[in-house]
């Protein structure tokens, strides 16, 4: 069992769980993920590790409720335990050695980009993080990222930070001309927009993909993505790939395979109860 030792509600559908998983905490690297199961009968959910503390033996997962299984996960409380946390899985991020990197995080992807920013900062790379959300309450991990460099927070509705999409802030940075690499994690449309911007300017770009997955070890092939015209498995060949080679249209399409099932399961379950908890936590954030 993997006990939850700390929990916070970050956004109306996003929670942060800190989980006791000493072995994974000890060896995890930026970009790697785990597969978790809440309990008997539950789905296996792949989640990229957002943070960790080797000394305390904990890892941090930031989870967005999108279907039944993730809603069940974000509602778990400190003191409860997950039956399974398997990993660390996937390849570690290929971090650049020096220069200036821009880490782009959209929504819950902001948490996923955090270990990359941390890893880059640790080796002396200058990091600028461009993070965003629909509105103020969807901007997460700003303080964590600020430890590793400058942060430009953006909101679509202008309720916080720079008004507009992360891509607009990224465009300004790219136009300034000293960006050596971009790491982008977020919804597929965001990663796609980032990829278009950097392709025009020939800036290397890495994206972290989160396709449908069962085992996480290469056995099922469900996570296959087309990269550079070839089928690759996100679980063992990724989850990070060269953004300029990824077939995003296929990825977005395959992510919709179980949409009907997810909607039916959510109808049976009822909505995620995080938003009231966030309101309760109020301005303490």
């Amino acid at each position: 069992m993997f006990p939850i030792v700390d929990r916070a509600v970050l956004s109306p559908t996003v929670a942060r769980l800190t989980i006791q998983a000493p072995r994974i905490a000890q060896i995890r690297q930026p970009g790697q993920f785990v597969i978790v199961r809440r309990g008997p009968g539950a789905e296996r959910i792949p989640l990229t590790i957002a943070d960790g503390d080797a000394a305390a033996g904990t890892i941090t997962l930031v989870i967005q409720a999108v279907g039944k299984s993730t809603s069940d996960l974000v509602e778990m409380q400190t003191g409860e335990a997950l039956t399974d946390v398997a990993g660390p899985l996937g390849r570690a991020t290929e971090l650049i050695e020096s220069g200036h990197a821009v880490c782009v995080g959209g929504g819950v992807g902001t948490a996923v980009v955090h270990p990359i920013a941390e890893g880059l900062h640790a080796r002396g790379v200058r990091v600028t993080s461009v993070i965003g959300g629909r509105s103020r309450e969807w901007v997460i991990f700003e303080d964590e990222l600020r430890r590793h460099g400058e942060v430009i927070a953006c909101t679509d509705d202008g309720s916080y930070g720079r008004p507009g999409f992360v891509t607009e802030a990224l465009k300004d940075l790219l136009d300034a001309g000293d960006v050596d690499c971009v790491y982008a994690v977020g919804p597929v449309p965001m990663m796609r927009a980032v990829e278009r911007l950097t392709r025009e300017r020939d800036v290397p770009t890495v994206v972290s993909l989160n396709p449908v997955m069962v085992d996480g070890t290469g056995m099922c092939g469900g996570c296959r993505v087309t990269v550079g015209g070839e089928t690759r498995y996100a679980c063992v060949d990724g989850p990070e790939f060269d953004a300029h080679e990824v077939d995003f249209a296929e990825l977005a399409d395959r992510l919709g395979t179980y949409r009907d099932f997810e909607q039916a399961a959510m109808t049976r379950r009822g909505p995620c109860q995080l938003a009231p908890q966030l309101a309760e936590a109020g301005s303490s954030r």
């Binding site: 072995r23 994974i24 060896i27 199961r37 009968g41 539950a42 789905e43 296996r44 039944k68 299984s69 039956t83 399974d84 946390v85 398997a86 990993g87 660390p88 899985l89 069962v214 085992d215 996480g216 070890t217 290469g218 056995m219 099922c220 092939g221 469900g222 296959r224 087309t226 089928t231 063992v236 296929e250 399409d253 395959r254 919709g256 395979t257 179980y258 099932f261 997810e262 399961a265």
Partner: protein, 477 residues
């Protein structure tokens, strides 16, 4: 105990083979309950009488784990089920499993002397009967607690090879730990073989029995990620690698990434391990009305019969060779035919066709004819020009085999692999690294449960001899 009739050889030879009762095809094709019903005590005793108790029993040689078949059958005939169970379990760590999934027709029953003139003894059905009796009467069976040997053995993978090796190694007092990547033990027995052929409770029983014998189990442990092989090697006196083949093979035709195309691994894992066959399951699986399963082996039969049970009106096998070449166990083909599975034989897929929303709408195929036997001895299929046609379907399951998963093997420098990435072993099952053994599909490629179990048993004995050599060496040093 019933009075046993005394039969002369002629009377014995005259006894007809007792067939195991099965549920009717019409009923069973709509649910996931077990197809075969097993022998009753009366049927088992009657069938046991048919065994001739050959002086040189060929059936033992025909069995990859060398079960002393005549002996346990003799004990069944005598009504001594406790004795029969003890004898069987001594030879075979997973008899509930093998009694259900072994291809007996090519093994023990294939060489049974009675088969030369008529039907062989129903060894598989008898094994299943005795094994199920043993599971139901576990408390009545002798339970040895061997003295600890002081040696630690790690087993990587909890499929049939790993479980068998564990069962053998605890018998001699070794401290055995099995590492499993999934959240539950059983490997292909759990994720691959469906409930209707091998109920998961039975796999759990076998795993529980090994654990009560002292085998440790570490789930969620991916060797090659959570721990590397060199790290395990530093902690254990010997290691047995039984990770299976792992990676699915796709057809490499256009359209394979459309929604509705599954590898058999993914399809069966969702259904079996993740329980998608249950109404209240959290893990989803697509349930097409028309499902094409590509391949002709046991995995293909499992997938197509699963699709049928999910309500597919047309559950189809698409196989490029003919009926006689189907590699599946005979009983599976027979059961599939009874359940209304359509066989599109001598047919090869060329392309998966999709609709405007990215969902599968059909499989473009061509008809084949069989040419001369190829290097493997099988007649190779040749395309018939102008024979292209479209098979309408909403779902395609690709069951054409697996290949080696490099996740574990690449974590161990110095481990010799062949050109396909499978682990190379010597006659004893030892790899290029002393003390590290391997068996099952990661050595053989895609094989069967019982061959993997044979490897597990052989490796366990080889590990025993390896320890003796190490001890002898230490004594002379």
């Amino acid at each position: 105990m019933t009075e046993r009739p005394i039969l002369n050889p002629r009377e014995r030879m005259a006894l007809p083979r007792t067939e195991m009762p099965a549920r009717g095809a019409g009923v069973r094709a709509r649910d996931f309950q077990e197809v075969n019903l097993g022998f009753s005590q009366v049927l088992a005793a009657a069938e046991a009488e048919r065994c001739l108790q050959c002086r040189n029993p060929k059936c033992i040689d025909g069995c990859p784990v060398r079960v002393n078949i005549p002996r346990f059958i003799e004990l069944v005939a005598e009504g001594d089920l406790r004795g029969a169970a003890t004898s069987l379990l001594d030879d075979n760590a997973l008899p509930c499993v093998t009694g259900r999934v072994c291809p007996q027709e090519t093994q023990c029953e294939g060489v049974c002397l009675r088969g030369k003139k008529g039907d062989p003894v129903a060894i598989g059905a008898l094994e299943r009967y005795v094994a199920d009796w043993a599971a139901a009467h576990a408390d009545e069976l002798p339970h040895a607690t061997p003295a600890p040997s002081g040696r630690r053995v790690a087993i990587v993978g909890s499929g049939p090879a790993g479980l068998t090796a564990a069962g053998e190694l605890v018998k001699t007092g070794h401290d055995v730990t099995i590492y499993e990547a999934f959240h539950a033990a059983g490997g292909v027995l759990l994720y691959g073989i469906p409930e209707f052929r091998l109920p998961k409770d039975i796999v759990q029983q076998e795993v529980d029995r090994l654990r009560s014998d002292g085998v440790h189990l570490e789930v969620d442990a991916i060797i090659g990620r959570t721990w590397t092989l060199p790290e395990l090697r530093a902690q254990y006196d010997a290691i047995f690698l039984a990770v299976g083949a792992g990676l699915p093979v796709f057809m490499n035709v256009p359209g394979e990434n459309l929604k509705g195309v599954y590898s058999a691994n993914e399809y069966l894992t969702r259904v079996n391990l993740m329980g998608a066959f249950r109404e209240d399951a959290e893990t989803p699986v697509l349930k097409g009305r028309r499902v094409a399963v590509v391949g002709g082996g046991n995995v293909a039969m499992d997938a197509v019969r699963t699709a049928r049970r999910f309500g597919a009106d047309e559950a189809m096998i698409v196989y490029r060779r003919g009926h006689d070449e189907l590699p599946a166990r005979r009983e599976e083909v027979h059961h599939a035919e009874e359940e209304g599975i359509r066989f599109e034989l001598l047919t090869a897929p060329l392309e998966v066709l999709g609709d405007e929303h990215g969902w599968v709408r059909g499989l473009r195929c061509q008809r084949m004819s069989l040419g001369e036997p190829d290097a493997s001895g099988r007649r190779s299929p040749q395309p018939i020009p102008g024979s292209e046609f479209v098979l309408d379907c909403e779902e395609v399951v690709v069951a054409i085999g697996t290949r080696a998963n490099p996740l574990l093997t690449h974590s161990m420098p110095g481990l010799t692999l062949n050109q396909w990435g499978y682990i190379v072993v010597d006659d004893e099952g030892m790899t290029s690294i002393p003390g590290i053994f391997a068996g099952g599909d990661i050595v053989r490629g895609s094989a069967t449960v019982i061959l993997a179990m044979g490897d597990g048993k052989r490796a366990a004995h080889a590990i025993e001899r390896y320890f003796e050599r190490v001890e002898a060496l230490a004594a002379t040093a």
